[in-house]
Protein backbone atom coordinates (compact mmCIF):
# COMPACT_ATOMS: atom_id res chain seq x y z
CA UNK A 1 0.00 0.00 0.00
CA UNK A 2 1.23 3.47 -0.79
CA UNK A 3 -0.09 5.63 2.01
CA UNK A 4 1.71 8.96 2.21
CA UNK A 5 2.93 9.94 5.70
CA UNK A 6 0.81 13.11 6.03
CA UNK A 7 -2.19 11.07 4.99
CA UNK A 8 -1.57 8.51 7.68
CA UNK A 9 -1.26 11.28 10.26
CA UNK A 10 -4.59 12.76 9.31
CA UNK A 11 -6.30 9.36 9.45
CA UNK A 12 -4.83 8.87 12.89
CA UNK A 13 -6.21 12.17 14.10
CA UNK A 14 -9.68 11.49 12.77
CA UNK A 15 -9.81 7.88 13.92
CA UNK A 16 -11.24 8.44 17.45
CA UNK A 17 -14.17 10.12 15.76
CA UNK A 18 -15.01 6.91 13.93
CA UNK A 19 -15.49 5.28 17.33
CA UNK A 20 -17.42 7.94 19.22
CA UNK A 21 -19.35 9.63 16.42
CA UNK A 22 -22.20 7.12 16.10
CA UNK A 23 -23.05 7.73 19.74
CA UNK A 24 -22.37 11.44 19.66
CA UNK A 25 -24.64 12.02 16.68
CA UNK A 26 -27.54 10.19 18.32
CA UNK A 27 -26.82 11.92 21.62
CA UNK A 28 -26.84 15.28 19.86
CA UNK A 29 -30.05 14.69 17.92
CA UNK A 30 -32.09 13.03 20.67
CA UNK A 31 -30.70 14.67 23.76
CA UNK A 32 -28.87 17.97 23.24
CA UNK A 33 -31.19 19.30 20.58
CA UNK A 34 -34.43 18.43 22.45
CA UNK A 35 -33.04 20.07 25.56
CA UNK A 36 -32.79 23.47 23.85
CA UNK A 37 -35.86 22.86 21.73
CA UNK A 38 -37.83 22.28 24.95
CA UNK A 39 -36.73 25.66 26.29
CA UNK A 40 -37.94 27.21 23.05
CA UNK A 41 -41.32 25.46 23.17
CA UNK A 42 -41.92 26.80 26.67
CA UNK A 43 -41.87 30.36 25.28
CA UNK A 44 -44.49 29.59 22.66
CA UNK A 45 -48.17 29.06 22.36
CA UNK A 46 -47.26 25.73 20.77
CA UNK A 47 -49.22 23.54 18.41
CA UNK A 48 -47.81 20.08 17.83
CA UNK A 49 -49.29 19.45 14.42
CA UNK A 50 -50.01 22.94 13.04
CA UNK A 51 -46.72 24.90 12.83
CA UNK A 52 -48.43 27.99 11.34
CA UNK A 53 -50.37 28.55 14.54
CA UNK A 54 -47.31 28.58 16.79
CA UNK A 55 -46.84 31.96 18.38
CA UNK A 56 -44.03 33.41 20.50
CA UNK A 57 -45.44 34.65 23.79
CA UNK A 58 -42.35 35.23 25.96
CA UNK A 59 -42.76 34.29 29.59
CA UNK A 60 -46.56 33.99 29.42
CA UNK A 61 -46.60 30.22 30.03
CA UNK A 62 -44.41 30.63 33.11
CA UNK A 63 -46.48 33.53 34.42
CA UNK A 64 -49.63 31.49 33.86
CA UNK A 65 -48.51 28.45 35.86
CA UNK A 66 -46.60 30.32 38.57
CA UNK A 67 -48.67 33.43 39.31
CA UNK A 68 -51.96 33.63 37.46
CA UNK A 69 -54.40 32.28 40.01
CA UNK A 70 -57.25 32.76 37.50
CA UNK A 71 -55.74 30.17 35.16
CA UNK A 72 -56.65 26.51 35.36
CA UNK A 73 -52.98 25.71 34.68
CA UNK A 74 -52.02 27.56 37.84
CA UNK A 75 -54.19 25.19 39.85
CA UNK A 76 -52.88 22.14 37.97
CA UNK A 77 -49.27 23.14 38.46
CA UNK A 78 -49.46 23.86 42.16
CA UNK A 79 -51.69 20.90 42.95
CA UNK A 80 -49.42 18.61 40.93
CA UNK A 81 -46.31 20.01 42.57
CA UNK A 82 -47.86 19.61 46.02
CA UNK A 83 -48.77 16.00 45.28
CA UNK A 84 -45.37 15.18 43.80
CA UNK A 85 -43.72 16.73 46.86
CA UNK A 86 -45.98 14.74 49.14
CA UNK A 87 -44.94 11.54 47.40
CA UNK A 88 -41.25 12.46 47.61
CA UNK A 89 -41.45 13.30 51.31
CA UNK A 90 -43.45 10.17 52.16
CA UNK A 91 -41.51 7.74 49.97
CA UNK A 92 -37.83 8.69 50.16
CA UNK A 93 -37.28 7.88 53.87
CA UNK A 94 -38.69 4.33 53.66
CA UNK A 95 -37.01 3.80 50.28
CA UNK A 96 -33.62 4.55 51.84
CA UNK A 97 -34.06 3.23 55.39
CA UNK A 98 -35.74 -0.12 54.60
CA UNK A 99 -32.99 -1.33 52.24
CA UNK A 100 -30.34 -0.08 54.68
CA UNK A 101 -31.81 -2.20 57.47
CA UNK A 102 -32.13 -5.20 55.14
CA UNK A 103 -28.50 -4.72 54.09
CA UNK A 104 -27.41 -4.66 57.75
CA UNK A 105 -29.24 -7.96 58.29
CA UNK A 106 -27.74 -9.35 55.12
CA UNK A 107 -24.25 -8.24 56.07
CA UNK A 108 -23.80 -10.94 58.75
CA UNK A 109 -24.40 -13.45 55.93
CA UNK A 110 -27.08 -15.62 57.55
CA UNK A 111 -28.19 -18.89 56.02
CA UNK A 112 -29.74 -18.38 52.59
CA UNK A 113 -28.87 -14.67 52.35
CA UNK A 114 -28.39 -14.98 48.60
CA UNK A 115 -31.93 -16.24 48.24
CA UNK A 116 -33.26 -13.36 50.34
CA UNK A 117 -31.30 -10.96 48.20
CA UNK A 118 -32.88 -12.43 45.06
CA UNK A 119 -36.38 -12.23 46.58
CA UNK A 120 -36.06 -8.56 47.54
CA UNK A 121 -34.54 -7.65 44.20
CA UNK A 122 -36.93 -9.55 41.92
CA UNK A 123 -39.87 -7.05 41.87
CA UNK A 124 -37.43 -4.43 40.61
CA UNK A 125 -37.56 -6.14 37.24
CA UNK A 126 -41.33 -5.94 36.91
CA UNK A 127 -42.82 -3.20 34.80
CA UNK A 128 -45.03 -0.59 36.40
CA UNK A 129 -48.12 -2.19 34.84
CA UNK A 130 -47.29 -5.58 36.37
CA UNK A 131 -46.64 -3.94 39.71
CA UNK A 132 -49.94 -2.12 39.76
CA UNK A 133 -51.93 -5.17 38.66
CA UNK A 134 -50.44 -7.18 41.52
CA UNK A 135 -51.16 -4.51 44.11
CA UNK A 136 -54.61 -3.52 42.91
CA UNK A 137 -55.53 -7.13 43.42
CA UNK A 138 -53.85 -7.44 46.82
CA UNK A 139 -55.42 -4.16 47.99
CA UNK A 140 -58.87 -4.76 46.48
CA UNK A 141 -61.40 -3.40 48.95
CA UNK A 142 -63.86 -6.29 48.97
CA UNK A 143 -61.88 -9.39 48.02
CA UNK A 144 -58.21 -8.37 48.33
CA UNK A 145 -56.01 -10.60 50.42
CA UNK A 146 -55.01 -7.73 52.72
CA UNK A 147 -58.57 -6.81 53.69
CA UNK A 148 -59.58 -10.48 53.91
CA UNK A 149 -56.72 -11.08 56.33
CA UNK A 150 -57.53 -7.96 58.33
CA UNK A 151 -61.19 -8.93 58.59
CA UNK A 152 -60.08 -12.18 60.27
CA UNK A 153 -58.91 -10.00 63.17
CA UNK A 154 -62.04 -7.83 63.04
CA UNK A 155 -60.85 -4.83 60.98
CA UNK A 156 -63.49 -3.52 58.59
CA UNK A 157 -62.68 -3.28 54.88
CA UNK A 158 -60.32 -0.41 54.16
CA UNK A 159 -60.57 1.45 50.80
CA UNK A 160 -56.82 1.35 50.23
CA UNK A 161 -56.79 3.13 46.89
CA UNK A 162 -59.83 5.36 46.99
CA UNK A 163 -59.61 7.19 50.34
CA UNK A 164 -56.91 9.26 51.96
CA UNK A 165 -54.62 8.76 53.81
CA UNK A 166 -54.75 5.14 52.63
CA UNK A 167 -54.13 6.06 48.99
CA UNK A 168 -50.77 7.66 49.80
CA UNK A 169 -49.90 4.78 52.08
CA UNK A 170 -50.66 2.26 49.32
CA UNK A 171 -48.65 4.13 46.69
CA UNK A 172 -45.64 4.30 48.99
CA UNK A 173 -46.08 0.67 50.02
CA UNK A 174 -46.06 -0.63 46.45
CA UNK A 175 -43.12 1.58 45.58
CA UNK A 176 -41.14 0.20 48.52
CA UNK A 177 -41.99 -3.35 47.48
CA UNK A 178 -41.04 -2.56 43.92
CA UNK A 179 -37.75 -0.71 44.15
CA UNK A 180 -35.82 -1.24 47.38
CA UNK A 181 -33.91 -4.26 46.01
CA UNK A 182 -31.47 -2.14 44.03
CA UNK A 183 -30.68 0.17 46.95
CA UNK A 184 -30.28 -2.87 49.18
CA UNK A 185 -27.67 -4.39 46.87
CA UNK A 186 -25.70 -1.14 46.73
CA UNK A 187 -25.81 -0.87 50.53
CA UNK A 188 -24.75 -4.52 50.93
CA UNK A 189 -21.80 -4.02 48.59
CA UNK A 190 -20.71 -0.87 50.40
CA UNK A 191 -21.06 -2.39 53.89
CA UNK A 192 -18.53 -5.03 52.87
CA UNK A 193 -15.98 -2.27 52.29
CA UNK A 194 -16.15 -0.99 55.87
CA UNK A 195 -12.94 -2.22 57.59
CA UNK A 196 -13.62 -4.73 60.38
CA UNK A 197 -11.02 -3.23 62.68
CA UNK A 198 -13.13 -0.07 63.04
CA UNK A 199 -15.90 -2.14 64.62
CA UNK A 200 -13.42 -4.07 66.78
CA UNK A 201 -12.02 -0.82 68.13
CA UNK A 202 -15.51 0.43 68.98
CA UNK A 203 -16.29 -2.88 70.72
CA UNK A 204 -13.35 -2.25 73.02
CA UNK A 205 -14.73 1.19 73.83
CA UNK A 206 -18.12 -0.35 74.59
CA UNK A 207 -20.14 1.29 71.82
CA UNK A 208 -23.71 0.07 71.32
CA UNK A 209 -25.24 -0.92 67.98
CA UNK A 210 -26.76 2.49 67.29
CA UNK A 211 -23.50 4.29 68.08
CA UNK A 212 -21.64 1.94 65.75
CA UNK A 213 -24.05 2.68 62.93
CA UNK A 214 -23.98 6.42 63.55
CA UNK A 215 -20.24 6.89 64.03
CA UNK A 216 -18.71 4.09 61.96
CA UNK A 217 -21.06 2.64 59.36
CA UNK A 218 -22.73 5.81 58.09
CA UNK A 219 -19.55 7.90 57.70
CA UNK A 220 -17.83 4.96 55.97
CA UNK A 221 -20.54 4.59 53.34
CA UNK A 222 -21.08 8.34 52.89
CA UNK A 223 -20.61 8.31 49.11
CA UNK A 224 -23.07 5.50 48.51
CA UNK A 225 -25.55 7.10 50.89
CA UNK A 226 -25.39 10.34 48.90
CA UNK A 227 -25.75 8.43 45.65
CA UNK A 228 -28.73 6.40 46.85
CA UNK A 229 -30.54 9.35 48.42
CA UNK A 230 -30.19 11.48 45.31
CA UNK A 231 -31.12 8.75 42.86
CA UNK A 232 -34.12 7.79 45.00
CA UNK A 233 -35.27 11.39 45.33
CA UNK A 234 -35.01 11.90 41.57
CA UNK A 235 -36.93 8.68 40.92
CA UNK A 236 -39.67 9.80 43.32
CA UNK A 237 -39.92 13.20 41.64
CA UNK A 238 -40.51 11.34 38.38
CA UNK A 239 -43.39 9.34 39.84
CA UNK A 240 -46.09 8.78 37.25
CA UNK A 241 -47.15 5.16 36.70
CA UNK A 242 -48.19 4.26 40.24
CA UNK A 243 -50.76 7.04 40.70
CA UNK A 244 -51.79 6.98 37.04
CA UNK A 245 -52.64 3.29 37.10
CA UNK A 246 -53.37 2.49 40.74
CA UNK A 247 -55.30 5.47 42.07
CA UNK A 248 -55.95 7.22 38.76
CA UNK A 249 -54.93 10.42 40.49
CA UNK A 250 -57.72 10.18 43.03
CA UNK A 251 -59.40 10.51 45.36
CA UNK A 252 -60.31 14.01 44.13
CA UNK A 253 -57.00 14.68 42.37
CA UNK A 254 -55.17 14.26 45.66
CA UNK A 255 -52.65 11.90 44.04
CA UNK A 256 -52.55 13.53 40.61
CA UNK A 257 -48.82 14.23 40.48
CA UNK A 258 -47.17 16.86 38.29
CA UNK A 259 -45.99 14.31 35.70
CA UNK A 260 -49.63 13.32 35.15
CA UNK A 261 -50.68 16.92 34.56
CA UNK A 262 -47.72 17.46 32.22
CA UNK A 263 -48.66 14.43 30.19
CA UNK A 264 -52.35 15.32 30.09
CA UNK A 265 -51.75 18.94 29.13
CA UNK A 266 -49.18 18.08 26.44
CA UNK A 267 -50.77 14.97 24.94
CA UNK A 268 -54.23 14.60 26.43
CA UNK A 269 -57.62 15.11 24.86
CA UNK A 270 -59.27 18.48 24.32
CA UNK A 271 -56.93 21.29 23.34
CA UNK A 272 -53.37 20.21 24.24
CA UNK A 273 -51.05 23.00 25.32
CA UNK A 274 -47.47 21.74 24.95
CA UNK A 275 -46.05 25.20 25.69
CA UNK A 276 -47.58 25.23 29.16
CA UNK A 277 -46.62 21.59 29.73
CA UNK A 278 -43.03 22.37 28.68
CA UNK A 279 -42.85 25.24 31.14
CA UNK A 280 -44.08 22.88 33.87
CA UNK A 281 -41.54 20.21 32.86
CA UNK A 282 -38.72 22.74 32.96
CA UNK A 283 -39.76 24.00 36.39
CA UNK A 284 -39.91 20.41 37.65
CA UNK A 285 -36.50 19.64 36.13
CA UNK A 286 -34.87 22.72 37.64
CA UNK A 287 -36.38 21.89 41.00
CA UNK A 288 -34.95 18.37 40.82
CA UNK A 289 -31.46 19.66 40.04
CA UNK A 290 -31.69 22.22 42.84
CA UNK A 291 -32.78 19.63 45.39
CA UNK A 292 -30.01 17.19 44.37
CA UNK A 293 -27.44 19.92 44.97
CA UNK A 294 -28.91 20.78 48.37
CA UNK A 295 -28.96 17.11 49.36
CA UNK A 296 -25.27 16.62 48.54
CA UNK A 297 -24.45 19.62 50.75
CA UNK A 298 -26.58 18.42 53.66
CA UNK A 299 -25.40 14.81 53.66
CA UNK A 300 -21.74 15.85 53.32
CA UNK A 301 -22.05 18.13 56.31
CA UNK A 302 -23.93 15.58 58.41
CA UNK A 303 -21.49 12.75 57.90
CA UNK A 304 -18.24 14.72 58.23
Amino acid sequence: MSTKPWNRGRIKRLLPGAFFLPHLVIFGVFFVFPFFYGLLISFFDWHMFIPEQREFIGFDNYVKILFDSESIYYRYFWNGLKNTFTFVVLSVPPLVITPFILALLMNVEPKGYKMFRAIFYLPNLFSIATLVLIWRWVLNTNVGILNLTLSEVGVENIPWLSKQPFAWFSLVLMTVWWTIGANMIIFTASLKEVPDNLYEASDLEGANTWQKIRYITLPSIKNQLIYITIMTTIASFNVFGQPQLATEGGPEESTTVLMMYIRNIAFGGGRPDPGVASAMAIMLGLLMILISVIQVKIIKRLSD
Binding site: F35, Y37, L133, V143, Y227, P274, A281
Partner: protein, 279 residues
Amino acid sequence: MGIKAIEDKKKRRSFIALTIVSFFWVLPIIWVVSTSFKTEAEAVSGSLNFIPEIFSLQSYRYIFTDDQHNIMHYVWNSFRAAGLHTVLYLVIVSLAAYAYGIMRWKGRDKMFWLLVSTMMIPVVMNLIPLYSLMIAFDWLNSLEALVIPSLGGVFGIFLLRQFNLGIPGEVLESARVDGANHFQIYFRIVLPLTKPALVVVGLFAFMTNWNEYLWPLIVLNDDTYRTLPVGLALIQGNYNIYYSRLMAATVISMIPVLALFMSAQRFFIKGISMTGVKQ
Protein backbone atom coordinates in the same frame (compact mmCIF):
# COMPACT_ATOMS: atom_id res chain seq x y z
CA MET B 1 -20.00 -16.23 75.32
CA GLY B 2 -17.26 -16.61 72.76
CA ILE B 3 -17.05 -14.60 69.57
CA LYS B 4 -18.24 -17.60 67.55
CA ALA B 5 -21.36 -17.96 69.67
CA ILE B 6 -22.15 -14.24 69.34
CA GLU B 7 -21.71 -14.47 65.58
CA ASP B 8 -24.02 -17.49 65.39
CA LYS B 9 -26.66 -15.76 67.44
CA LYS B 10 -26.47 -12.72 65.17
CA LYS B 11 -26.85 -14.90 62.10
CA ARG B 12 -29.84 -16.72 63.55
CA ARG B 13 -31.58 -13.50 64.50
CA SER B 14 -30.97 -11.97 61.12
CA PHE B 15 -32.21 -15.12 59.41
CA ILE B 16 -35.49 -14.97 61.33
CA ALA B 17 -35.97 -11.27 60.61
CA LEU B 18 -35.28 -11.72 56.91
CA THR B 19 -37.65 -14.68 56.71
CA ILE B 20 -40.48 -12.64 58.18
CA VAL B 21 -39.87 -9.63 55.95
CA SER B 22 -39.47 -11.72 52.80
CA PHE B 23 -42.97 -13.13 53.34
CA PHE B 24 -44.34 -9.72 52.41
CA TRP B 25 -42.38 -9.86 49.20
CA VAL B 26 -43.38 -13.37 48.22
CA LEU B 27 -47.02 -13.56 49.33
CA PRO B 28 -48.43 -11.06 46.82
CA ILE B 29 -46.83 -13.01 43.97
CA ILE B 30 -48.11 -16.36 45.18
CA TRP B 31 -51.57 -14.84 45.63
CA VAL B 32 -51.50 -13.56 42.05
CA VAL B 33 -50.41 -16.93 40.67
CA SER B 34 -53.06 -18.68 42.75
CA THR B 35 -55.81 -16.36 41.51
CA SER B 36 -54.82 -16.94 37.90
CA PHE B 37 -55.63 -20.66 38.26
CA LYS B 38 -59.02 -20.09 39.91
CA THR B 39 -62.37 -19.76 38.21
CA GLU B 40 -63.69 -16.18 38.08
CA ALA B 41 -66.32 -17.14 40.63
CA GLU B 42 -63.81 -18.45 43.10
CA ALA B 43 -61.47 -15.51 42.55
CA VAL B 44 -64.04 -13.09 43.93
CA SER B 45 -65.57 -15.43 46.50
CA GLY B 46 -63.57 -13.86 49.32
CA SER B 47 -61.93 -17.08 50.41
CA LEU B 48 -58.32 -17.03 51.56
CA ASN B 49 -57.48 -20.29 49.77
CA PHE B 50 -54.05 -20.29 48.22
CA ILE B 51 -54.77 -23.58 46.51
CA PRO B 52 -57.72 -23.30 44.09
CA GLU B 53 -60.72 -25.47 44.84
CA ILE B 54 -61.14 -26.05 41.15
CA PHE B 55 -57.86 -25.86 39.31
CA SER B 56 -58.79 -24.01 36.13
CA LEU B 57 -56.86 -23.03 33.00
CA GLN B 58 -59.85 -21.10 31.71
CA SER B 59 -58.24 -17.68 32.22
CA TYR B 60 -55.07 -18.61 30.40
CA ARG B 61 -57.07 -20.05 27.54
CA TYR B 62 -59.04 -16.83 27.37
CA ILE B 63 -56.08 -14.43 27.31
CA PHE B 64 -54.17 -16.48 24.75
CA THR B 65 -57.10 -16.46 22.35
CA ASP B 66 -58.15 -12.87 22.99
CA ASP B 67 -57.97 -11.23 19.60
CA GLN B 68 -58.66 -7.71 20.75
CA HIS B 69 -55.75 -7.14 23.11
CA ASN B 70 -53.60 -10.24 22.89
CA ILE B 71 -50.91 -10.46 25.52
CA MET B 72 -48.55 -12.61 23.48
CA HIS B 73 -48.59 -9.96 20.77
CA TYR B 74 -47.45 -7.40 23.35
CA VAL B 75 -44.78 -9.76 24.66
CA TRP B 76 -43.44 -10.19 21.15
CA ASN B 77 -43.51 -6.44 20.48
CA SER B 78 -41.60 -5.73 23.67
CA PHE B 79 -39.12 -8.44 22.88
CA ARG B 80 -38.51 -7.12 19.38
CA ALA B 81 -38.10 -3.49 20.48
CA ALA B 82 -35.94 -4.26 23.52
CA GLY B 83 -33.83 -6.81 21.64
CA LEU B 84 -33.15 -4.48 18.74
CA HIS B 85 -32.40 -1.60 21.07
CA THR B 86 -29.98 -3.71 23.13
CA VAL B 87 -27.97 -4.95 20.15
CA LEU B 88 -27.61 -1.47 18.66
CA TYR B 89 -26.83 0.07 22.03
CA LEU B 90 -24.05 -2.44 22.73
CA VAL B 91 -22.40 -1.71 19.38
CA ILE B 92 -22.66 2.05 19.76
CA VAL B 93 -21.53 2.37 23.35
CA SER B 94 -18.73 -0.18 23.12
CA LEU B 95 -17.28 1.75 20.20
CA ALA B 96 -17.62 5.01 22.10
CA ALA B 97 -16.14 3.50 25.27
CA TYR B 98 -13.14 2.44 23.18
CA ALA B 99 -12.61 6.03 22.04
CA TYR B 100 -13.00 7.43 25.58
CA GLY B 101 -11.11 4.68 27.43
CA ILE B 102 -8.45 3.18 25.17
CA MET B 103 -7.52 5.70 22.50
CA ARG B 104 -5.53 8.80 23.34
CA TRP B 105 -6.53 12.09 21.81
CA LYS B 106 -6.70 15.74 22.72
CA GLY B 107 -9.71 16.75 24.80
CA ARG B 108 -10.78 13.16 25.40
CA ASP B 109 -11.37 13.36 29.14
CA LYS B 110 -12.95 16.80 28.96
CA MET B 111 -15.47 15.57 26.44
CA PHE B 112 -16.18 12.41 28.39
CA TRP B 113 -16.92 14.24 31.63
CA LEU B 114 -19.07 16.73 29.76
CA LEU B 115 -21.14 13.78 28.52
CA VAL B 116 -21.37 12.26 31.98
CA SER B 117 -22.43 15.56 33.54
CA THR B 118 -25.48 15.64 31.26
CA MET B 119 -26.79 12.61 33.15
CA MET B 120 -27.78 15.17 35.83
CA ILE B 121 -30.43 16.64 33.53
CA PRO B 122 -33.85 15.21 34.35
CA VAL B 123 -35.49 13.20 31.55
CA VAL B 124 -38.80 15.02 32.00
CA MET B 125 -37.33 18.16 30.39
CA ASN B 126 -36.86 16.32 27.08
CA LEU B 127 -40.19 14.54 26.80
CA ILE B 128 -42.24 17.12 24.90
CA PRO B 129 -39.53 18.32 22.46
CA LEU B 130 -38.63 14.70 21.74
CA TYR B 131 -42.24 14.03 20.82
CA SER B 132 -42.15 17.03 18.52
CA LEU B 133 -39.04 15.56 16.92
CA MET B 134 -40.84 12.26 16.39
CA ILE B 135 -43.52 14.13 14.46
CA ALA B 136 -40.86 15.80 12.31
CA PHE B 137 -39.24 12.42 11.59
CA ASP B 138 -42.63 10.84 10.99
CA TRP B 139 -41.78 8.30 13.69
CA LEU B 140 -45.03 8.36 15.67
CA ASN B 141 -46.35 4.85 16.00
CA SER B 142 -43.13 3.27 14.78
CA LEU B 143 -40.49 0.85 15.95
CA GLU B 144 -37.85 3.55 15.48
CA ALA B 145 -39.40 5.67 18.21
CA LEU B 146 -39.05 2.80 20.69
CA VAL B 147 -35.54 1.80 19.68
CA ILE B 148 -33.49 4.79 18.58
CA PRO B 149 -33.80 7.92 20.79
CA SER B 150 -32.62 6.08 23.91
CA LEU B 151 -29.46 4.89 22.08
CA GLY B 152 -27.93 8.22 23.09
CA GLY B 153 -27.75 7.07 26.74
CA VAL B 154 -24.43 7.78 28.41
CA PHE B 155 -24.57 5.29 31.25
CA GLY B 156 -23.31 2.33 29.21
CA ILE B 157 -20.28 4.29 28.03
CA PHE B 158 -19.54 5.28 31.59
CA LEU B 159 -19.56 1.67 32.79
CA LEU B 160 -17.65 0.19 29.86
CA ARG B 161 -15.00 2.91 30.00
CA GLN B 162 -14.28 2.01 33.63
CA PHE B 163 -13.57 -1.54 32.45
CA ASN B 164 -11.50 -0.41 29.48
CA LEU B 165 -9.31 1.69 31.78
CA GLY B 166 -8.64 -1.49 33.76
CA ILE B 167 -7.11 -3.32 30.77
CA PRO B 168 -3.32 -3.47 31.32
CA GLY B 169 -1.38 -1.15 29.02
CA GLU B 170 1.10 -3.90 28.12
CA VAL B 171 -1.63 -6.02 26.54
CA LEU B 172 -2.64 -3.17 24.25
CA GLU B 173 0.95 -2.17 23.58
CA SER B 174 2.02 -5.66 22.52
CA ALA B 175 -0.93 -5.87 20.13
CA ARG B 176 0.12 -2.56 18.65
CA VAL B 177 3.70 -3.77 18.25
CA ASP B 178 2.34 -6.83 16.44
CA GLY B 179 0.83 -4.43 13.94
CA ALA B 180 -2.83 -4.55 15.00
CA ASN B 181 -4.87 -1.47 14.16
CA HIS B 182 -7.55 0.04 16.39
CA PHE B 183 -10.41 -1.93 14.89
CA GLN B 184 -8.52 -5.18 15.41
CA ILE B 185 -7.65 -4.27 18.98
CA TYR B 186 -11.29 -3.38 19.63
CA PHE B 187 -12.57 -6.68 18.23
CA ARG B 188 -9.88 -9.12 19.33
CA ILE B 189 -8.77 -7.74 22.67
CA VAL B 190 -11.11 -5.17 24.22
CA LEU B 191 -14.45 -6.82 23.46
CA PRO B 192 -13.43 -10.30 24.71
CA LEU B 193 -11.80 -8.87 27.85
CA THR B 194 -14.83 -6.76 28.80
CA LYS B 195 -17.45 -9.40 28.13
CA PRO B 196 -18.90 -9.41 31.68
CA ALA B 197 -19.34 -5.63 31.52
CA LEU B 198 -20.99 -5.93 28.12
CA VAL B 199 -23.44 -8.46 29.55
CA VAL B 200 -24.28 -6.10 32.40
CA VAL B 201 -24.77 -3.12 30.10
CA GLY B 202 -26.84 -5.26 27.72
CA LEU B 203 -29.07 -6.57 30.50
CA PHE B 204 -29.79 -3.12 31.85
CA ALA B 205 -30.42 -1.69 28.40
CA PHE B 206 -32.83 -4.54 27.70
CA MET B 207 -34.68 -4.25 31.02
CA THR B 208 -34.98 -0.46 30.82
CA ASN B 209 -36.42 -0.65 27.33
CA TRP B 210 -38.66 -3.61 28.18
CA ASN B 211 -40.20 -1.82 31.17
CA GLU B 212 -40.48 1.65 29.66
CA TYR B 213 -44.03 2.90 30.19
CA LEU B 214 -44.45 6.65 29.69
CA TRP B 215 -42.62 6.98 26.35
CA PRO B 216 -44.42 4.17 24.45
CA LEU B 217 -47.68 5.37 25.98
CA ILE B 218 -47.11 8.72 24.33
CA VAL B 219 -45.68 7.74 20.94
CA LEU B 220 -47.83 4.70 20.13
CA ASN B 221 -51.54 4.88 19.44
CA ASP B 222 -52.48 1.41 18.26
CA ASP B 223 -51.55 -2.22 18.79
CA THR B 224 -49.06 -2.56 15.92
CA TYR B 225 -45.98 -1.82 18.03
CA ARG B 226 -47.60 -1.51 21.45
CA THR B 227 -45.34 -2.95 24.14
CA LEU B 228 -46.19 -5.09 27.13
CA PRO B 229 -46.42 -2.47 29.92
CA VAL B 230 -48.77 -0.26 27.91
CA GLY B 231 -50.73 -3.26 26.61
CA LEU B 232 -51.07 -4.64 30.11
CA ALA B 233 -52.42 -1.33 31.33
CA LEU B 234 -55.02 -1.48 28.56
CA ILE B 235 -55.92 -5.03 29.52
CA GLN B 236 -56.46 -3.82 33.05
CA GLY B 237 -59.19 -1.52 31.81
CA ASN B 238 -60.52 -4.04 29.34
CA TYR B 239 -60.94 -7.07 31.63
CA ASN B 240 -62.27 -4.83 34.34
CA ILE B 241 -63.48 -7.15 37.08
CA TYR B 242 -62.35 -10.44 35.56
CA TYR B 243 -59.64 -10.83 38.14
CA SER B 244 -58.56 -14.32 37.26
CA ARG B 245 -57.90 -13.25 33.66
CA LEU B 246 -56.12 -10.14 34.85
CA MET B 247 -53.90 -12.20 37.10
CA ALA B 248 -53.19 -14.69 34.31
CA ALA B 249 -52.02 -11.75 32.19
CA THR B 250 -49.93 -10.53 35.12
CA VAL B 251 -48.30 -13.94 35.48
CA ILE B 252 -47.48 -14.03 31.77
CA SER B 253 -45.89 -10.59 32.06
CA MET B 254 -43.68 -11.82 34.90
CA ILE B 255 -42.38 -14.96 33.21
CA PRO B 256 -39.89 -13.50 30.67
CA VAL B 257 -38.36 -11.28 33.31
CA LEU B 258 -38.19 -14.13 35.77
CA ALA B 259 -36.45 -16.36 33.23
CA LEU B 260 -33.92 -13.65 32.47
CA PHE B 261 -33.27 -13.07 36.15
CA MET B 262 -32.75 -16.75 36.92
CA SER B 263 -30.26 -17.17 34.11
CA ALA B 264 -28.31 -13.99 34.75
CA GLN B 265 -28.77 -13.20 38.43
CA ARG B 266 -25.10 -12.65 39.20
CA PHE B 267 -24.79 -10.12 36.39
CA PHE B 268 -27.74 -8.14 37.73
CA ILE B 269 -26.29 -8.08 41.24
CA LYS B 270 -22.86 -7.19 39.95
CA GLY B 271 -24.20 -4.43 37.74
CA ILE B 272 -26.11 -2.79 40.54
CA SER B 273 -23.23 -3.01 42.98
CA MET B 274 -21.02 -1.35 40.39
CA THR B 275 -23.36 1.56 39.81
CA GLY B 276 -23.28 2.46 43.47
CA VAL B 277 -19.73 1.67 44.43
CA LYS B 278 -17.68 2.87 41.50
CA GLN B 279 -18.07 6.57 41.03
